[in-house]
């Protein structure tokens, strides 16, 4: 009797780290762990899931799944879910997961719990901890019935290797094309490999103190030095000024993030911004105003002109990198 079905999300030909995170958690819960992977040419990825405790992988593979179309993916996944009949469904709350998970729950006639940061299992019931009001508070939430459909914020759980049987079953005829009313015309991705802010482990963020769009280059340089799990962010002031695209915005009307390191440059720390990044493990603030509220939240504060500090920091870090 399978305990958990996870959604293994594929982006750019690879399974997302967040999917391995939820697989690891599912393994910890005990019971059988099944996964469903959907895409075009994804069958070859299935064995990777066995390394993180997945016992059975349902593969939905076909050209009609080349692009993410919610209706198609939901149809295929719920068909697998009905076969597996799990008590818990877990997915990573990535950009795609946020779109996908509530639709899956609705199709299965159950509720969903979004964007959780911790899960506790008591008997058959999972209590999910999730930030509300962009992190100003936490709610402990439970589903009333099985399957308990839960999306977990990336980086909430460690990826742990554990042997799973990893049996692969190809699912045929998973799509009734007559029910698809959406067609993807084109997908345009920025020419960068930087992670999404909600998934990044390090975020270098800039605010009003950056003075203009051209100065974000040095934040990008700093983020690049931190490695491939780092990206840049921005405060609402910087976004509203038109310096950065909205997808960079961190805060209550942007993204809620919880990286290992958050470097706030020229950000005063409005309540809406502090809510959106308050769960970061380590916060560094660089601001020339010693009274800026951000310093009340920062583990390390540098009171000085960021235009002097950031370039010097870049040089110093380069030294460590050799």
């Amino acid at each position: 009797m399978p305990g958990t079905l996870i959604y293994a999300e594929v982006q750019k030909g690879e399974i997302k780290k967040g999917s391995f995170e939820v697989a690891s958690k599912a393994k910890e819960f005990g019971g059988e762990v099944a996964a469903c992977i959907i895409g075009k040419g994804v069958e070859g990825l299935a064995p990777q899931l066995a390394k993180y405790g997945v016992d059975k992988v349902y593969v939905v593979d076909g050209p009609e799944f080349e692009n993410y179309v919610p209706e198609a993916f939901v149809q295929a996944f719920t068909q697998v879910a009905k076969t597996v009949n799990p008590s818990v469904i877990l997915a990573s709350a990535t950009a795609q997961g946020k779109d996908f998970v509530p639709a899956v729950a609705a199709r299965l006639g159950v509720g969903a719990i979004s964007d959780c940061v911790d899960l506790q299992k008591n008997g058959d019931k999972i209590t999910a901890k999730r930030p509300v009001f962009a992190g100003k508070a936490y709610a402990m939430v439970e589903a009333a019935a099985d399957p308990q459909v839960i999306a977990v914020r990336p980086n909430s759980f460690a990826v742990k290797e554990a042997a799973g049987a990893g049996a692969v079953e190809k699912v045929a005829g998973a799509l009734d094309a007559s029910k698809i009313k959406t067609v993807v015309k084109s997908v345009e991705l920025a020419q960068t490999n930087e992670p999404d802010q909600t998934e990044a482990e390090i975020i270098v963020s800039g605010g009003r103190g950056m003075k203009g769009p051209e100065n974000f280059k040095m934040l990008e340089d700093l983020a690049k030095l931190f490695g491939p799990t780092a990206t840049t962010g921005a405060s609402r002031a910087a976004v509203d000024a038109g310096w950065r695209d909205h997808r960079y915005q961190v805060g209550q009307t942007g993204k809620t993030v919880g990286p290992n390191l958050y470097v706030a440059c020229g950000i005063s720390g409005a309540i809406q911004h502090l809510a959106g990044m308050g769960t970061s493990k380590v916060i560094v603030a660089i601001n020339k105003d010693p009274e800026a509220p951000i310093f009340q939240k920062a583990d390390y504060g540098v009171v000085d002109d960021l235009f002097n500090v950031v370039p010097a920091l870049i040089d110093e870090i380069k030294k460590f990198k050799g």
């Binding site: 709610a139 009313k181 390090i202």
Partner: protein
């Protein structure tokens, strides 16, 4: 083009949250229309203006106070409103129950599109758009940042935000669209708009009158505040270069990130 916009009244983003049982202290909160719903209302108005025909209906589930958010939408230019005024239902409503009530109000209306904000900034669930689509039996496109409706209103070309970029989709109408920041710049209600809004019709209904008795499918057991963060250390140094050097050392030796 006939459209329906679902809106929610939420605490202003400046609000300091205080916990009471499995909810929050309501006293002293300034209630506003959910910021993402403003984009939804604006888009409905723009589509109507572009077509120079049709009506915009706003729907909200909430207690008495929710009428203020509906009046704001009417003042912006919406034509009619439905207020599902049911404090008891609203109190317990999870996203599924909210979607059920909204869908019940919308069913039977004539519409080409349903607009919603991509998420409400109180519970941050972001589930209602997808659940509405499922209950209404129509497709859903979330995180919309651009929308062009065909002249015959049979379909729309939509740009949505995806991880690391954007995707362009074609979807048949009617459909549900969830509005992301960037879709438009919401207008302010004008003074004549506010005056006119007072006379616009608001249909008030209970959930029971809509035939909705859905028990919530998820339950909040407890609420808590995040642990208070203490201000940490200020990095000392004679000048910016010295402070940067010390910060780099900390990142390397203490945080171990470099």
């Amino acid at each position: 083009m006939n459209t329906v916009v679902c809106i929610k009244q939420v605490p202003d983003t400046e609000t300091l949250i205080k916990i009471q049982g499995a909810g929050i202290v309501q006293d002293g909160i300034k209630w506003v229309m959910n910021p993402y719903d403003e984009f939804a209302v604006e888009e409905a108005l723009r589509q109507k203006e572009k077509m120079a025909a049709g009506a915009v209906t706003v729907v909200s589930l909430g207690p008495d106070r929710a009428i203020e958010a509906l009046r704001t939408a009417l003042a912006m230019g919406a034509d009619t409103a439905v207020h599902i005024n049911d404090g008891a239902y609203y109190e317990k409503a999870d996203p599924a129950a909210t979607a059920a009530a909204l869908a019940a109000a919308i069913k039977g209306m004539q519409y080409d599109a349903v607009f919603v904000g991509k998420q409400a900034i109180d519970d941050d669930s972001g589930q209602v758009p997808a659940m509405l689509g499922e209950l209404l039996g129509i497709p859903v496109v979330t995180m919309v940042i651009k929308l062009e409706v065909a002249a015959d209103k049979s379909k729309a070309t939509v740009t949505r935000e995806v991880e690391g970029g954007q995707a362009v989709l074609e979807v048949s109408l009617p459909a549900v669209f969830s509005a992301q920041k960037g879709l438009n710049e919401p207008r302010y209600a004008s003074l004549p708009g506010i005056m006119k809004a007072k006379k616009k019709p608001v249909d008030v209904k209970t959930a029971a009158a809509l035939g909705v008795t859905d028990a919530p499918k998820t339950v909040i057991k407890e609420m808590s505040l995040p642990p208070a963060r203490q201000a940490g250390q200020k990095i000392a140094g004679d000048d910016a270069a010295a402070k940067a050097k010390e910060l780099a050392r900390i990142l390397h030796e203490v945080v171990k990130i470099v």
